[in-house]
């Protein structure tokens, strides 16, 4: 079942050799950045390092989801099952280590990978016979089924309490006892790099390319002589394996795994991450994971309406930018070297003002409503940046509504100008960049 809603991955027109060299430079740069990041100003606190650790886990999880969705076209609403079951495997491994198993703690995500792989193989055999909507429904059903089942086996899953373990009570490795958040970050970052490189390599293998083919035209794949179901099964197992790695990292970071690790909310959140970033490229889910993790941890500290903002951004992306955030960035690649780019950027700046007004108006209305309905005890004065809005008076409401409507109208007008500038830039790009 083809789907026009997912953009095709950009392969670029370079030769394999040039591709390989460029890739190696990119990965080297990323590795250096990952090592240096926790010492960057602003990220040296436990808060910053926790944030980076969570981003690392989310990146692995979102990339594993994209192996299913972006690469093979399988929309899954139950991917957290493999994350959670891998996490449970990992936490039991940690418990065994606490009781004397001579395995170094940083290798625990291997147990997560094993758990994710086994479950991916088991459930995949049953569920990959179909694609499309049926697959989505099956994944939903399996997710709910596994979630309900975790409460039935308290020995394995700990019931409501979950399973806990300690990440420090293990074989003493010199200097690496995982007591500090910094050390946990480096372990997570190492695993994230390895997993991302592995998944990237997978997309380049013949099996990976076949996954893309199954996504685009399964009938043709059959005619060429391959079995689409087999290929989907392999993709499912690979996705399950890396989801399990993410689950294992989660177990290391929080030292607890409970039933909501396999729950529908987590499945939903990885879907939003991957889609928001853009499922058509490898970097998309990475961007989505970073942005959503940041919104979840930091934005929620400033406003209790953060989930609404996330939902609105998600809907906006579905309606207006199906290629995701990274798709928006990548969309500029062809016009990067044109002269018309300057005009496009200028038009962006013009459209920015009404956009900002609209967003500010919406934010004012939303924040005031949330304050009145959920946190009345903090009073009716809401602080939005430097302004203090008294929600019990009509003035801020009228002003907010006016800004929202006015900004929207002006935005639509300026969007037309942006479109014109884009057209010129695209024409120029296609024409070869002639002056």
């Amino acid at each position: 079942m083809t789907d026009a809603g997912v953009a095709a991955p950009s392969l670029g027109g370079r030769t394999t050799h040039a591709h390989g060299a460029r890739d190696r430079r990119v990965w080297l740069a990323v590795a250096v950045l990952v090592v240096v990041l926790p010492h960057a100003p602003g990220l040296t606190t436990d808060f910053g390092r926790s944030l980076l650790t969570q981003m690392g886990i989310a990146i692995v999880f979102a990339l594993s989801y994209n192996v299913l969705f972006g690469e093979t076209g399988l929309l899954s609403f139950g991917h957290a099952v493999y994350f959670g079951l891998g996490g449970y495997a990992a936490i039991h491994c940690m418990r065994a280590i606490n009781h004397g198993l001579p395995l170094p703690m940083p290798f625990v995500p291997l147990a997560g990978a094993a758990g994710g792989l086994v479950c991916g193989l088991a459930f995949g055999a049953l569920t990959t016979r179909r694609a499309g909507t049926i697959f989505a429904l099956i994944s939903l059903g399996v997710g709910e089924l596994v979630y309900a089942a975790t409460f039935l086996l308290p020995g394995l899953f700990g019931g409501e309490e979950g399973i806990t373990a300690s990440r420090t009570r293990a074989l003493a490795l010199p200097g690496l006892d995982l007591g500090s958040q910094l050390q946990v970050y480096y372990v997570v970052a190492a695993w994230a790099l390895v997993s991302a490189a592995a998944m990237r390599a997978f997309t380049r293998t013949p099996v990976g390319r076949l996954c893309n083919a199954v996504r685009d035209n399964p009938e043709r794949v059959q005619f060429v002589g391959y079995d689409p179901q087999r290929i989907r099964f392999i993709a499912f197992a690979v996705a399950g394996l890396f989801a399990g790695v993410a689950g294992g990292l989660h177990a290391l970071n929080y030292e607890i795994v409970a039933a909501d690790a396999v729950g529908a909310q987590r499945s939903g959140s990885v879907l939003v991450m991957a889609y928001m970033g853009g499922t058509g490229s490898f970097a998309g889910p990475v961007v989505g994971a970073i942005v959503l993790t940041w919104l979840e941890t930091s934005l929620s500290a400033y406003t209790s309406a953060w989930l609404l903002y996330v939902g609105l951004i998600f809907i906006a992306i579905i309606l207006f930018a199906p290629a995701g955030l990274w798709g928006i960035v990548a969309m500029h690649a062809p016009i990067l070297h044109t002269r018309a780019l300057r005009r496009v950027l200028a038009r962006y700046a013009v459209a920015l003002l009404p956009g900002a007004i609209m967003v500010a108006g919406a934010a004012a209305l939303i924040e005031m409503s949330y304050r009145l309905s959920t946190q009345r005890e903090l009073g009716s004065v809401v602080k939005l940046g430097p302004l203090a809005l008294d929600a019990s008076t009509p003035v801020p409401w009228i002003a907010g509504a006016a800004m929202l409507v006015g900004g929207l109208v002006l935005l639509r007008i300026s969007a037309r100008f942006v479109a014109v500038a884009w057209q010129a830039a695209t024409l120029e790009a296609r024409g070869g960049g002639a002056p």
Partner: protein
């Protein structure tokens, strides 16, 4: 390069959020459900804690510093709680307040213990105002945990003593939530009924999923079919309201002996059907004193509405003792405050209370009360109010403990 660009954006964004606040306030994290099945109790508790903290701040704070309450929603979820705890610690919280859900409490005690071991000098103190699984002050006790509510066994002792005197009780049905606390209630009921009234027959011992059941009619049908005349339940939050609602709809005629019959919404759901039959064990109820305490009246004035009716008297005790301990220790450091709290005695309008030093369990008076008509103060605007049946003195509620606490030097 694409990869570079995306990481640079990440760094810029991270810088934009800045480091955690460096103010001199004492930050206290409140981690409880603010949405979902436990929201009614969690939100009310949040308001209550904020109310008492505001009073402390208005009186000058503790040792000259003001208290800031940071709230986190855990949806009664142990895993989510640990995620929020990490966030709270990263934001500089030195104290943790939690109560709804013993599963959460067990995970938090464990996590706090680990954190304190790994971060000497930056310890965190856990003030538990409502999670009453007995294990928290027995096998799983910890120096860094203080409980300000009578545990499930202590409350069951009071409840079963009241039942023991009632000859009309012959068949008892137990229905509880399927997690550590619910199981503890069931176990305590079985044990104590066997000791005090071996002639009572326990005709059912049911465990249902926590905060998930929407329709309790099948359970009510089972209760009816068993012929029970009394139901003992530790249900709280939505589970309590929906259970009693289903019972009323079906016209079930039993005595409801509850821990949390005072959960917001319960009295409105049961109405006249609960008169003379709905009972609860609690540390306070609105008619416990002849006149309403001034803080209760002030709270109800500041937060009007049936869902905001004052219910957490133990929060008042907790914050008064906390302020007194900080004053006695002349420091806001959790380790010093903890030592000052141990063994602290205080006199309250309801009686004397004492924080046991051996297992950090608060001993306070307990009331067994029944819903009646014509009481001075009614609940949730229904015209029905609680009336005291028996009052148990604080010291008499003490039970033996298996706690072997490891104390820091």
């Amino acid at each position: 390069m694409r990869a570079h660009r995306r990481r640079v954006v990440a760094v810029a964004v991270a810088l934009a959020l800045g480091a955690g606040s460096a103010a001199a306030d004492v930050k206290i994290a409140f981690i409880d459900p603010l949405s979902g099945g436990g929201a009614s109790t969690g939100i009310l508790a949040q308001k209550t804690h904020q109310f008492y903290i505001d009073a402390i701040n208005a009186a000058g704070g503790i040792n000259g510093e003001k208290i800031e309450l940071l709230s986190y929603d855990n949806k009664v979820n142990p895993q989510e709680s640990l995620i929020q705890l990490k966030k709270a610690l990263d934001e500089g919280a030195r104290y943790l307040v939690q109560g709804n859900g013993s599963a959460v409490a067990l995970a938090l005690t464990d996590a706090v213990q680990k954190y304190n071991e790994r971060n000497p000098g930056k310890e965190v103190l856990y003030l538990n105002y409502a999670a009453i699984d007995p294990a928290l002050t027995n096998d799983k006790c910890s120096f860094w945990h203080f409980r300000f509510d009578a545990d499930a066994d202590m409350k069951m002792a009071a409840m079963t003593s009241a039942i023991a005197g009632d000859k009309k009780t012959q068949k008892v049905y137990l229905i509880n939530q399927d997690y550590s606390f619910g199981k503890a209630v069931a176990a305590a009921a079985q044990k104590m009924l066997a000791e005090k009234r071996p002639d009572i027959k326990i005709v059912g011992d049911e465990l249902h999923p926590l905060q998930k059941v929407q329709d309790f009619s099948p359970y009510v049908a089972k209760i009816k079919a068993s012929g029970a005349d009394t139901v003992i339940t530790g249900n709280w939050g939505n589970d309590m309201v929906l259970l009693i609602k289903a019972g009323r709809d079906a016209g079930l005629k039993v005595n409801w002996d509850t821990y949390y019959g005072g959960t917001p919404g319960t009295v409105s759901a049961v109405r006249e059907a609960g008169v003379d039959t709905l009972k609860q064990v609690s540390e306070w109820h609105k008619n416990a004193q002849p006149d309403l305490d001034t803080t209760v009246a002030a709270f109800d004035k500041r937060f009007p509405g049936a869902e905001n009716e004052y219910a957490y008297w133990r929060a008042k005790t907790m914050w008064e003792m906390f302020a007194a301990a900080a004053k006695k220790a002349q420091s806001n450091d959790p380790a010093k405050v903890a030592r000052a709290l141990e063994g602290m005695k205080m006199s309250t309008p309801l009686g004397d209370v004492e924080m046991r030093a051996d297992n950090h369990q608060l001993l306070q008076p307990l009331y067994v009360s029944t819903l009646e008509k014509g009481q001075k103060y009614d609940a949730e605007g229904t015209g029905l109010g609680w009336r005291t049946d028996t009052k148990v003195d604080g010291k008499a509620t003490a039970l033996p403990t298996t706690c072997k606490m490891e104390r820091p030097k």
